[in-house]
Symmetry: C2
Subunit: 368 residues, 2 copies
């Protein structure tokens, strides 16, 4: 194998496939990047067997072939080289010879035959979605996936498509984030995508306006971004019926400036985090929400202007879970709906029906 | 005590005195900031007993008094408040009441009487030096102080003043950094300042053009920056006679572009760091310096254009120590002087006689 390729192109693509490589792999070959040069294309692959990332780029291929190169040292070397053409040559003993400007590196590669095959995705169903929409759907939900593995299905997000509409839902037993979008596709799809896959897809998606093609099999999902393809195992099992959890009725409806309530909770949580549960209490009455928190080192009292429709209410939350939802909302104002101090609070952007964030309250000893 | 002060002013000054507070203190009161309000001035003090930082600022003092407030929670609260006036009130039971905009905090303070007194510096000798010059002197030397405590005196830098000239020198047994400057002061001063003190002084110095006044006693140094005063213990003991180490003769003199050699060593060290000692070898001959490094994972060969005056030489270094010196030099070209492969290399900026960096070679088995 022998190729010639500009340094900045190669460096950029190595960074992309490195997102598919886990430092915790037990299979040493997976610490490497599979490098394949055929038909004047260079293909790079990184995988941890759950998630796989492939990029393909134009390249002057002088001699076709393939090899596996340690991801860390390969990335470090290429990034540090000057932005000239890089010549990369691999001999039959897997010695890799890299030259660029006044620099010359020799490192040992591994036979490409030892590298596992990525799953072949035979397109069973697929749809297209704009990159920025997908990125936003992921950003507004993925943080609510469960971080612990006690219920593995909750470490993923449910993607449900039907009747020209897509919903992405994540929940962890304390809060739920749901984003709806209309897409031009009317078949039924219902899959659970690992949270890690969604995070990596979101990091790789650039802000270009073109579409991502998403393909499915019964066990895998594949995101085709054009030059980059990300494939991932799906999670197996039954996701919770999230629609039963979200109730639209309410007894108290609060409209409040997003920045006001976010900053007040952030300040209140400075003391809350010193106690247990990050507990903050909301006392909602007339046109005020009083947010308080107590801990051994002191107490805080925040006074937020609101519009209230319905009953007064006193309710407490883990401040982290409320803040996570507020941070996912770009709108200037949010609506918060309450039923009672033991029912979940539902937070929505005032001008956007497509996003719903639900958070469970913490029972207050004094109000039980 | 009762004061009124703009949020941004208070926040900025808390950040400054926090640099004097150690998280590892064994005396709990030193986790606090001493807050004193007298004569329409607010004075903040943070110390770990080795290093003390005081700032003084104009402030509306409604009732004079003093208290000690936990540094971390105080800083966190003030930084998160909106940029309005902050009212801070302390009652006789050390309850601290902070209000700002719609926010109200109550935290418990500590009696100011428990706070240790900072050493009184009776000016025995002093001189003034421009802030940017002092900052640069520190930046070019402090990294070469010893990090381990086996020879405590070497964890500091020697400041030697005489005949209108100041020298700051740091060395750790592997390399030495020396910066000379002319200052209008002709008395003799010879003190060893802790490296940590110098680092904090450099972080606090802004880029304004005015002077710093430096005062000395036999045991302490004090940097007067105007509104901020930093005092520190001096290190006791005999510093090495650095002038004996720096020899001006050479057998090989190399002139090279700073960026060329720096980038080449950085690339070579990608492989060197995998081996022992970060070993890189320089092979200097005619108009080329060949930099090589070997480790289990491969080898690298860098080819740097140089001007050589004198003998060819083959010599090896710990790449980290050479890079540290090159990074401290702003000039486009450096001069490197060699005597033999067991004598130190001396690196100087081509256009600046006032900076000297000396680094010891590593003996190569093959050239012994």
């Amino acid at each position: 194998m022998k190729i010639k390729i500009p340094q900045n192109t190669l460096s950029k693509n190595i960074s992309i496939v490195q997102k598919g490589i886990s430092s915790k792999t037990t299979l040493p070959i997976l610490n490497g990047i599979l490098v394949e040069a055929y038909d004047n294309k260079l293909k790079l692959t990184g995988t941890d067997l759950e998630l796989g990332i492939e990029t393909q780029l134009d390249c002057e291929v002088i001699e076709e072939g393939k090899t596996v190169i340690s991801s860390k040292i390969f990335g470090d070397i290429i990034r540090k080289l000057p932005n000239y053409d890089i010549n990369l040559e691999v001999d039959t003993s897997h010695n890799i010879h890299i030259t660029c400007g006044h620099s010359e590196f020799n490192i040992l590669g591994h036979p490409a035959e030892e590298y596992p095959e990525l799953p072949k995705i035979n397109e069973e169903s697929s749809f297209e979605i704009p990159k920025d929409l997908l990125k936003n759907m992921i950003k507004q939900t993925v943080f609510a996936t469960a971080q612990d593995e006690t219920r593995p299905i909750l470490t993923g997000a449910l993607l449900e498509v039907k009747d020209n509409s897509a919903a992405l839902v994540a929940l962890d037993g304390y809060r739920l984030a749901l984003k709806n979008s209309s897409i031009p596709y009317d078949n039924n799809i219902k899959v659970v995508i690992p949270g890690k896959t969604l995070s990596e897809v979101s990091r790789i998606l650039d802000d270009e306006e073109n579409n991502v093609k998403i393909m499915f099999t019964s066990s895998h999902i594949l995101f085709n971004l054009g030059d980059t393809i990300i494939n991932s195992r799906l999670l197996e099992g039954q996701f919770l019926n999230y629609k039963d959890i979200i109730r639209n009725e309410y007894k108290s409806k609060v409209i409040v400036k997003t920045s006001d309530i976010k900053e007040s909770i952030e300040r209140a949580s400075l003391l809350a985090r010193e106690g247990r549960n990050n507990l903050v209490k909301f006392d909602i009455k007339d046109d005020k929400m009083i947010i308080t928190s107590n801990s051994e080192i002191g107490n805080v009292h925040e006074d937020v202007d609101i519009e209230l429709e319905g009953d007064d209410i006193v309710i407490a939350f883990n401040s982290k879970y409320v803040l996570d939802g507020l941070k996912a909302i770009d709108s200037d104002e949010v609506i918060m709906n309450f039923i009672s101090n033991v029912n979940p609070c539902i937070i929505k952007p005032k001008d956007d029906e497509n996003y719903t964030y639900l958070v469970l309250p913490v029972r207050l000893a004094e109000v039980n």
